[in-house]
Symmetry: C2
Subunit: 341 residues, 2 copies
C-alpha cells in the first residue's frame, strides 16, 4: 500500500515514526506492506516511488524544517495538489493543520483532488469534513474509493469504529457525549472551585488548548464531532449549519459547586436525536458521561440493547497517528470485501 | 444463510422473534437472507429445509412446550447432535442452557459436532468455551469454519467486538473490568448501607440472580468472561484453570461505606495482565470502572492510546439474542473475506 502524506506536523511525523517501528508487524499481522511514496509540507515535498526512508524524513524535517530538503528526492516549489494528482499511490493521508474555518482549505482541496484521481483518503482533519461531509462521501463513492477519518472523533479512542462496526445489526436511536477534552477539563476544575478564568489559564498552561480557545469553549469543536458522528454512524446527511451550538462561556463555578451538593454536575454535552445540539447540560453524578479531566465519553442508545458508553482520551499526536493506521487496516479490509461483491 | 438453532429457551425464542421482524432489513442492509432450517429443544426438533415459520415456532413452543409438536415438521425422540450432523446449514446457533460445569454438556458436543461437520457456530454459552476454548478454536480452524460468541461477555454490549475490531493496529497490554452485573448490584446496594445478606435477597427478588447465586458471587462468572476475553482479544491460550478466583463473600458493608468516605469503592474486578485474576479491589470513585447497579464496564489498556473503557448492560434475553445477529453479520463478512485471501 503506497501512501502520500499531505502535511508533516505533529500527526504526520508521529505517523512516520510509528510506521518505522511497525512495518514488519503490519505486514505480518495484517498483510499490509506500507510504503511512503511522497510527503508534502509547506516548504515542498519529498517523492520517491520506491519508498522514502522514515528516519531520513524525520531527520530532514527536524534539521532543515522541510522535507523539500530530503537528500536527492526533495522538491521545492511544488503544489500539494499536483503531487497528490501525479504520484501513483493507493492512499492519501491528509493531515495538514490549521485549516481555514470557512473554506476548509488546504485540506478540502487535498481530499477532493485525491478522491477525484482515484485515491483512497485517510484524514484527521475535521474542518473539511464538517463543511461538506455528505458531498465528500458522495464524491468518494462516485470514484469508487474510500474516505476514512476515525481520528477526528476521540483521537485514540475508536468512537467512530465502535458506533459503526460494533453496533451492527440494530438501529442506533441517539448519541450523546462529552466530546471536547479542553472544556471538560475546565468544568472539572470549576467543580473543584476554580473560576472559569483560572481554569482556562490552567488548561492553556498544560497545553490543553490554543491561545485562542474559542473553538473549544464556544462549542464548535464538539459540533464538528457531532456532524461527523451523525454522518458516519447514523447516516444523517448533515453539515455544521445543522447544529445548534452553545458553549460553556458564562457558566459560574457556583453553578457547578451547588449542583455537586445535590448529586449533579454540568457537562458540555453534544447530542444527536431529532435535533443536533451542543449545550451545557446538567447530568447526574452516576451518569457514565460524568468523566473527569480531558477524557471523552460517548453514549450510544440502540434499539434493543440499551445505552452503551465508551470512554477514553480524546487526543494526542501519537494516538491520532495510530488512528491513521487503524483506518489503513480498515481500507485494506474493505477493498478486499469489494473484490467479492 | 441457513441456521440450526440448538436450544429454545429465552435466548433462542428471543432470536426467532427478532428474526421475524428483521428478515427484510437484514437482507437489504447486510445482504443476509436468513432461514431457520431446524430448531432443537429438550422435547425434540422441528426440521424444514425450506425454512420454519418464526411465528409458528414460538406459538408451538408456548402452547405445546416443545418444537417437536410443530405442525407436520416436528420430530420427537431425536438426538440433538444427529440433527446438527444431518441437517444442511451454514450456521449452528448453540443456545442451550444449564450446561454442566464440569463437562460443558450439552453445549460442548453440540459445538464440536457442528464444527466437525463443517458448520460455523455462534454460541452464547460460556461453559463449553471456558473449559476448552483454545481447542475449540483449533477445531474450527482445522475445519475451515468460524466460531463466534460475542454474547458471552457483556450480552448486549459488544465488549469482545470492541477489543478485537476497534483496537486493531496496536497491542493491548491489559484488560480490567466489572464483568458481573449481579455482584455489582450487590456491592452498589452495600455501598448504600445494605448488608450483604439483604442486598443478595434484593438481587434475587429483582431476578438478577439464580436461587443458587454461587456462580456470580464466588467470582466464577467473572472468571468465565476473562477466559473468553483473554483468548479472543489477547490471543492467550488459556482455560478456566488458569484463573485465580476470589468472590465477594465476606465483604462487610462497613468496608464499603468507610471507603466511600475516603473517595474509594470496592468492585469485583477481573483482570488480565501477567496473571489472570478475579478479586474484590479498591478503586477510586473517579475510575471509569466505578459503574453502578447491574452495569458492566471493561477497560482496555493499549500500547499507544492509553485506557479506553466501555460501559453497558451485561445481559438480557433480547440483547443476547441481538448479539447472535451481530455474530451472523460478522460470519458473513469473514466468509466473504476468505474468498479473496
Amino acid at each position: 500500500m503506497r501512501l502520500i502524506i499531505a502535511g508533516f506536523g505533529a500527526v504526520g511525523q508521529s505517523l512516520v515514526s510509528l510506521l518505522k517501528n511497525r512495518m514488519n508487524w503490519l505486514r505480518e499481522k495484517y498483510g499490509l506492506p506500507i510504503k511512503v511514496v511522497a510527503v508534502i509540507d509547506r516548504g515542498g515535498a519529498a517523492i520517491e516511488k520506491e519508498g522514502l526512508n522514515p528516519e531520513k524524513l524525520i531527520k530532514t524535517k527536524k534539521i532543515k524544517g522541510t522535507v523539500a530538503s530530503y537528500p536527492e528526492k526533495g522538491v521545492k516549489e511544488v503544489l500539494c495538489q499536483e503531487v497528490i494528482e501525479e504520484t501513483e499511490a493507493e492512499v492519501v493521508v491528509e493531515v495538514t493543520s490549521a485549516n481555514d474555518l470557512s473554506t476548509g482549505e488546504p485540506g478540502f482541496s487535498n481530499i477532493t483532488t485525491a478522491l477525484k484521481t482515484g485515491k483512497n483518503v485517510v484524514t484527521t482533519n475535521k474542518v473539511p469534513l464538517v463543511l461538506a461531509l455528505p458531498a465528500l462521501m458522495d464524491l468518494a463513492e462516485h470514484n469508487s474509493v474510500l474516505l476514512r477519518f476515525s481520528g477526528t472523533v476521540g483521537g485514540g479512542t475508536p468512537i467512530l469504529n465502535f458506533g459503526k462496526e460494533c453496533l451492527q445489526g440494530e438501529k442506533i436511536i441517539s448519541i450523546k457525549g462529552v466530546l471536547n477534552g479542553t472544556t471538560n477539563f475546565i468544568l472539572t476544575e470549576m467543580e473543584k472551585g476554580e473560576s472559569f478564568h483560572n481554569a482556562l489559564l490552567k488548561a492553556k498552561k498544560l497545553g490543553y488548548c490554543e491561545e485562542n480557545p474559542s473553538l473549544d469553549i464556544d462549542g464548535l469543536d464538539t459540533a464538528f464531532k457531532l456532524v461527523i458522528l451523525a454522518n458516519w454512524v447514523m447516516d444523517k446527511e448533515v453539515t455544521l449549519k445543522n447544529v445548534k451550538i452553545k458553549g460553556i462561556r458564562g457558566i459560574e463555578k457556583e453553578e457547578l459547586t451547588e449542583n455537586l451538593k445535590k448529586g449533579y454536575t454540568i457537562k458540555l454535552i453534544g447530542s444527536i436525536e431529532e435535533k443536533i445540539e451542543v449545550k451545557p447540560s446538567k447530568i447526574s453524578l452516576n451518569n457514565p458521561l460524568n468523566v473527569k479531566g480531558v477524557l471523552n465519553a460517548v453514549m450510544f442508545k440502540s434499539e434493543i440493547s440499551g445505552n452503551k458508553t465508551i470512554i477514553g482520551p480524546g487526543s494526542g499526536g501519537l494516538a491520532t497517528a495510530n488512528s491513521v493506521i487503524r483506518d489503513l487496516i480498515s481500507i485494506k479490509r474493505e477493498l478486499m470485501m469489494r473484490m467479492v461483491r
